[in-house]
């Protein structure tokens, strides 16, 4: 690791979930950046479609307090000073799954073949998912400066988000599709 003091540039990805069309371009961009191949299940951002029409991206919200980092028994998770993202030390991680349970949205998931957890690292300050989402003008994701806000409210379980989106799109009938 270089020991050069890097500029502090905490960022956050603002999300407008109802605009998501479910094109999954973000999954492709994420896996190409991190795994050098197209691998939707190893992507740090995953698009859920528990009910057709109610697609949304599900990824780390970097809540203040970082409950996943707190919960890690082997200190494999750290918070990046530079971006505010959670970084995973893949060698130290034992794949115990404690961070998943600590996360209010159950957002982290295991790597399909390796034994370590996957959490969004904001691509070191240049999130690829935001880039492709804005290129396609879906505008679900937007890069903003991280402020002192209640970001943990955005870390929600897929079922909860789906329920809200269904209520928004389908009204009272939305409940029965879950």
């Amino acid at each position: 690791m270089e020991m050069v003091a890097k500029e502090k540039n905490p960022l956050w990805i603002a999300r407008e979930l109802a605009r998501c069309s479910g094109c999954r371009k973000c999954e492709i961009a994420c896996s190409l950046f991190h795994e050098k191949r197209i691998w939707p299940e190893a992507s740090r951002i995953r698009v859920f479609m528990l009910v057709p029409g109610a697609e949304f991206p599900h990824f780390c919200a970097q809540c203040e307090g970082y409950p996943c980092v707190e919960a890690c028994p082997v200190k494999a998770l750290t918070v990046s000073d530079e971006t505010g993202a959670v970084l995973v030390n893949a060698e130290a991680c034992t794949a115990c799954g404690k961070c998943i349970n600590a996360c209010p949205g159950k957002i982290p998931h295991m790597h399909p073949t390796e034994k370590h957890i996957l959490i969004c690292d904001l691509c070191g300050g240049k999130p690829q998912c935001v880039k492709v989402c804005r290129e396609g003008e879906w505008n679900v994701l937007k890069k903003v400066t991280r402020k002192d806000r209640a970001y943990h409210l955005y870390a929600r379980k897929p079922e909860e988000i789906t329920r809200d989106l269904c209520a928004r799109f389908y009204g009272d009938k939305g409940e029965e599709f879950l």
């Binding site: 492709i28 795994e35 191949r37 859920f48 057709p52 396609g136 599709f177």
Partner: protein
């Protein structure tokens, strides 16, 4: 070895409940590419000698779900359903969009071949190389939304139970039939999501005759190796840029062609092609 393919075909015989994988030949893949072409080749190989006597709605017919080399690389997401068609007794390649194609490729297969006929209603659950034939009597008779809801819940619960440490499971992709397919209506579709259907050829009836209610697939692997990933990235980028620039397609989708061509050449399919325009 040819790149861009998983080179594996999943063969399921519902009569004997036998599941096996066969390797697809490089020369065949090169000559027939995938989808409709590969379907024609497989049907010729296996049913060619007795084509005249094969009844589309009898167990001897084959039902094929095939992908091509580009399936999963961004713009390509379609899967081809084929077999001997109950509508015309010929081979029809009927395609449907949705997540099924990419998920099947992630599970490590290029296609599924379903043979035989089950006695009870069943559905097929594929999680990478774990393939199960599961009972579907509780789904028989259900329509699209009910089937999707019940099956998504059931599959995610079973995945969660089997892999408790994985985290949240994404939903599996599904192809299913509704009551029309179950009752062997010869125009029945094989459907994906709520409103996407492989409509040509009436393969819903073939699926219904095999008592196969649905296929759910969850793949956790990567897409097959390609010769040059940089070129694939460039290709994806170019195709997307092209699509993003086109205002017509963005705004109207494929409906644009119907309107543009139909209105300009006075060939709107009004009253099932009996009239050329509405009076109002």
């Amino acid at each position: 070895m040819i790149k861009g393919y998983a080179r594996k075909l999943l063969e399921v015989n519902l009569s004997t409940r036998e599941i096996k994988e066969t390797t697809l030949n490089d020369s065949i893949l090169e000559a027939y590419v995938g989808g409709r072409g590969l379907a024609a080749n497989i049907l010729w190989d296996r049913l060619g000698s007795k084509w005249e006597v094969v009844e589309p709605l009898r167990p001897e017919n084959l039902l094929l779900f095939l992908t091509g080399p580009l399936t999963g690389f961004f713009p390509g997401g379609r899967i081809c359903v084929s077999g001997k068609s109950p509508q015309c007794n010929g081979v029809v390649g009927s395609t449907v969009g949705g997540e099924f194609g990419p998920e099947l490729r992630c599970a490590g297969y290029d296609g599924i071949l379903v043979a035989g006929e089950s006695k009870k209603p069943v559905y097929l659950f594929i999680k990478d190389s774990d393939v199960e034939i599961r009972d579907a009597s509780h789904l028989w008779g259900k329509d699209a939304k009910q089937t999707m809801t019940l099956l998504t819940r059931e599959c995610r619960n079973s995945l969660k139970k089997r892999y408790p440490l994985y985290g949240e499971w994404k939903e599996p992709a599904m192809l299913y039939i509704g009551p029309a397919g179950e009752n062997r209506v010869r125009t029945a579709v094989v459907a994906a999501k709520w409103s996407h259907a492989a409509g040509y050829g009436g393969y819903g009836a073939v699926m219904g005759s095999k008592k196969l209610k649905a296929i759910a697939v969850k793949g956790t692997g990567p897409l097959p190796d390609v010769a040059d990933i940089k070129k694939v990235e460039k290709l994806i980028q170019e195709v997307c840029d092209n699509a993003y620039r086109s205002v017509l397609w963005r705004r109207w989708g494929t409906g644009a062609a119907g309107y543009e061509v139909g209105a300009k050449t006075s060939s709107e399919p009004v009253r099932n092609w009996q009239e050329e325009w509405h009076d109002e």
